[in-house]
Subunit: 152 residues, 2 copies
């Protein structure tokens, strides 16, 4: 593969990272920064390199990077008067953790809903109970899988 093909492929990927992270609630620029730090050949980039390649203002880069660092998604290394940023490699189960939190909140919502029903045998009440059972089964299953992966 030619080098310029690779670089333009990277640019496209950066936008895809951006779209993905935007879809899960990140600011567009935050997603593209994560994308850049993921796809670029050198995996530790300076503030300047980031704003130049993504063509964003210093202001937004500053705000977004501070946030990403505070959320532990990006790590910062100070060298001289420059800041270098790199992807923070988080727990492998990060994606799963977030999904399980979502399951917990759904489970709570449905449980409370059933509590407030006059008719606990109503169509929705029965449906919600089935979902709760499925969530419980899922969580048990996941706990087992996590243990298996840990002990490899």
């Amino acid at each position: 593969m030619l080098d310029n093909e690779r670089l333009s492929g990277q640019d496209q990927l950066i936008d895809r990272f951006g779209s993905y992270f935007e879809s899960i609630g990140f600011q567009p620029i935050a997603g593209r920064i994560i994308g850049l730090l993921s796809v670029s050949d050198r995996e530790e980039l300076s503030f300047d390199e980031i704003i130049n390649r993504l063509k964003i203002s210093k202001g937004s880069a500053s705000v977004v990077l501070r946030r990403l660092v505070s959320e532990c998604r990006v790590a910062v290394v100070e060298s001289g008067r420059r800041h270098y940023y790199k992807l923070n490699q988080q727990n492998l189960f990060e994606l799963l953790d977030e999904f399980e939190r979502m399951c917990d909140s759904v489970r709570y919502l449905l449980n409370t809903t059933i509590d407030l029903k006059t008719d606990k045998e109503s169509s929705n009440a029965k449906y919600f109970n089935q979902i709760i059972n499925t969530i419980d089964r899922y969580k048990t299953n996941m706990a087992t899988m996590r243990q298996a992966v840990q002990t490899i």
Copy 2:
């Protein structure tokens, strides 16, 4: 539990449903409609009942309901010149389906990223490979669980 306690509890729950569905990309009103159809005692409500209890305009109710129906989240029953709406009880694994689609798109993103790396042994490349392996293990596991649940 007193009846008015139950009703105000329902109102709070409706807003929680709203927040939850908003967090996964629905319009605020869409989430509250789903909430209302989930928590209310009668589980089939007319257009009028919906806009009165949620205090929303006819315009937004019309637009949002049409969308919810087209997405198969809500079912509509026509009776006389009135429309009645109820929650559409979807596949139990709906939540999981969506999560697995997300896993697929992450997997694709990471795979493509590795393809474009000059150094396939770079820190990020190795990290991404680990995530891909974890996703694959997860999907295998889920397939097994689904089968188990189907055959109960």
